[in-house]
């Protein structure tokens, strides 16, 4: 467990090191006290060049202005997280996967561009309040209807929001927005020291890895990006993945880019249950009894209201690893808060750090917290399974990004600016050229394609 604070391990101005990713890999492995027989290799390229060539740098910056280098070695974080997973799984299964490129692939596949204080995806904005910046995502059509209640004003568009926020303070705005179920957060400074990115909520402490285990069955209840990416990576590691969706509320990403949806979900089985009725809920509960790993990215109360209790399942199934992905964790009241990849990254400090480094307060990449969390969740899930299971693990979007930003973070802003300048000087226009995203080898299953087969195999009630 990464519970004890890990001291900074890299000279923040060490430009010669090609070992940034290896060091992040070791932070993750040592943090869970795991000692695999060998550690997977990491790319030798400097993180500034990895960042530029992955396509991430061209996603950072103001519209019609040059792209900005990120002062945090996030490409090394991605590479290191994948290497940690590969070290405890089978390195050869990940040899052809470029972790830094995973961060940019949605934007590259769908043609998203940097837009400064607007997220690349368009749903989130950085907005100026009287005492600083907040990030607000209006990802669902229904979110717009909450604006009058949030602002107690007749506001229905972004222009109206900007005017209404200018004279108000962030704390009451954010509190009231969260009460209404809006994904809203203050832009916070990135932490100075590394803090845990993963917490054992219930179950056993970490223990040595088994050398061989049977391939796990993963039941993935998540949607969008972070959770599906993690089960996609677990599939690469050798797991069987059943993607479970509600018939009435399927994964919203099915309505997004097919190329991206296929990339994350090809090769999984799709089971769809009517979770609005007791039969569908009983089917899901019964299927969960067969799972070795559950990936889930809903607020705890959503599953509890369906009669699904992670803690209780853990008691009944001692080998289960339950991976709970949320915006801000399962503690009260954070468990109620909604977070998406862009606003969570701002809450964790990504935009503030960029400004301190001499750039502008902008979004970093595309929904940065999602792919970073997906990488860490896959590692945590596989590690827990190999360590005998029996854990409810909490990963939050904000916690993972905070951990990533604190890794090798210079302690004063002057050093941060020097790093930013030196790393910027390392890359050429050629390095920032648009990268080519990977493509799905096959289409993802249509909704419920495997429901009948899954029901028959596991004897689910009709």
């Amino acid at each position: 467990m990464a519970d004890s604070g890990v001291a900074p391990i890299v000279d923040p101005l060490d430009d010669a090191a090609a070992h940034w990713a290896a060091r992040y890999r070791d932070v993750l492995l040592d943090g869970l006290s795991l000692s695999p027989p060998s550690r997977a290799a990491t790319p030798a390229l400097h993180p500034a060049l990895r960042w530029a060539r992955s396509g991430m740098m061209s996603l950072c910056g103001d519209v019609d202005r040059p792209p900005q280098m990120c002062a945090a070695p996030l490409a090394a974080v991605a590479d290191g997280a994948l290497a940690a997973l590969a070290s405890i799984a089978s390195p050869s299964r990940f040899a052809d996967l470029d972790a830094a490129a995973l961060l940019a692939e949605r934007a590259l596949l769908t043609g998203l561009r940097r837009a400064g204080r607007q997220s690349a995806g368009g749903a989130c904005r950085l907005l100026t309040c009287a005492d600083g910046l907040i990030a607000l995502s209006l990802a669902r059509d229904d979110d717009w209807s909450l604006l009058p209640a949030w602002l107690e004003d007749d506001v229905h568009d972004w222009a109206g929001v900007e005017v209404a926020l200018r004279r108000r303070d962030r704390v009451p705005l954010v509190a009231r927005g969260r009460e209404l179920g809006l994904a809203v957060a203050a832009s916070e400074p990135a932490p100075q020291r590394i803090a845990p990115w993963c917490r054992i909520v219930a179950g056993r402490a970490w223990r040595p890895l088994a050398e061989t285990v049977r391939a796990p069955l993963v039941v993935d209840l998540s949607s969008l990006w972070a959770g599906p990416l993690s089960s996609h990576l677990l599939q690469r590691a050798g797991a069987r993945v059943i993607k479970v969706e509600s018939v009435t509320r399927p994964d919203g990403a099915r309505r997004g880019s097919p190329a991206f949806f296929d990339l994350l979900n090809a090769g999984k089985q799709s089971a769809a249950f009517d979770l609005s009725c007791p039969t569908g809920r009983a089917q899901l509960r019964q299927l969960l009894r067969h799972a070795d790993i559950v990936i889930e990215a809903s607020r705890p109360r959503a599953l509890q209201q369906m009669g699904i209790d992670a803690e209780a399942l853990l008691v009944e199934q001692p080998g289960l690893s339950w991976i709970s992905i949320s915006g801000y964790g399962r503690a009260w009241p954070q468990a109620q808060w909604i977070g998406y990849g862009d606003d969570a990254a701002v809450a964790a400090g990504a935009s503030d750090l960029q400004q301190r480094a001499g750039g502008s307060a902008i979004f970093i990449g595309d929904a940065l917290a999602d792919p970073l969390t997906g990488l860490h969740a896959a590692y945590a899930a596989w590690a827990s399974h190999l360590a005998g299971g029996g854990r409810l693990l909490e990963l939050s979007l904000v916690g993972v990004v905070r951990h990533a930003l604190a890794f090798a973070r210079p302690h004063d802003d002057a050093q941060l600016r020097r790093r930013q300048q030196r790393w910027t000087a390392r890359v050429s226009a050629e390095d920032i050229r648009t990268a080519t995203p990977r493509q799905a080898v096959q289409a993802a299953p249509v909704l419920g394609a495997d429901t009948a087969a899954v029901m028959a195999e596991f004897g689910l009630p009709c």
């Binding site: 990802a139 107690e152 009460e179 990006w225 109360r301 109620q336």
Partner: protein
């Protein structure tokens, strides 16, 4: 007691723990009830008995609407009473559709 319902205004139940925030409301004055008893402003005090016909409960985070969805309330704290506009019960609004991306 009929009262104007403005988006963002809060009410609490007189007979249980329920609290709500108005998301949208039709113009004019309306009688918002919980547990069959008129709801109160957050700082007001009042009392009454829970009407068994309005006792199916509220759930935190759920949105409640009238038939034409001209009134919409967000439950910010759950309780034993159920919500009504006058004597007409409010229904749980269908859960928000998931976003296609974030």
């Amino acid at each position: 007691m009929a009262t104007a319902l403005k988006p963002g205004s809060r009410f609490k139940s007189a007979v249980c723990d329920t609290q709500v925030m108005v998301v949208k409301a039709p113009a004019g004055e309306h009688e918002l009830c919980c547990g069959g008893v008129a709801m109160l402003a957050p700082t007001a005090s009042g009392e009454g008995a829970l009407d068994a016909n309005f006792a199916s409960g509220t759930l935190i985070g759920k949105r409640y609407v009238n038939e034409d969805e001209s009134l919409e309330l967000l439950c910010t704290k759950g309780g034993q009473g159920s919500l009504s506009l006058g004597a007409t019960p409010l229904d749980v609004k269908q859960a928000k559709q998931l976003p296609s991306s974030d």
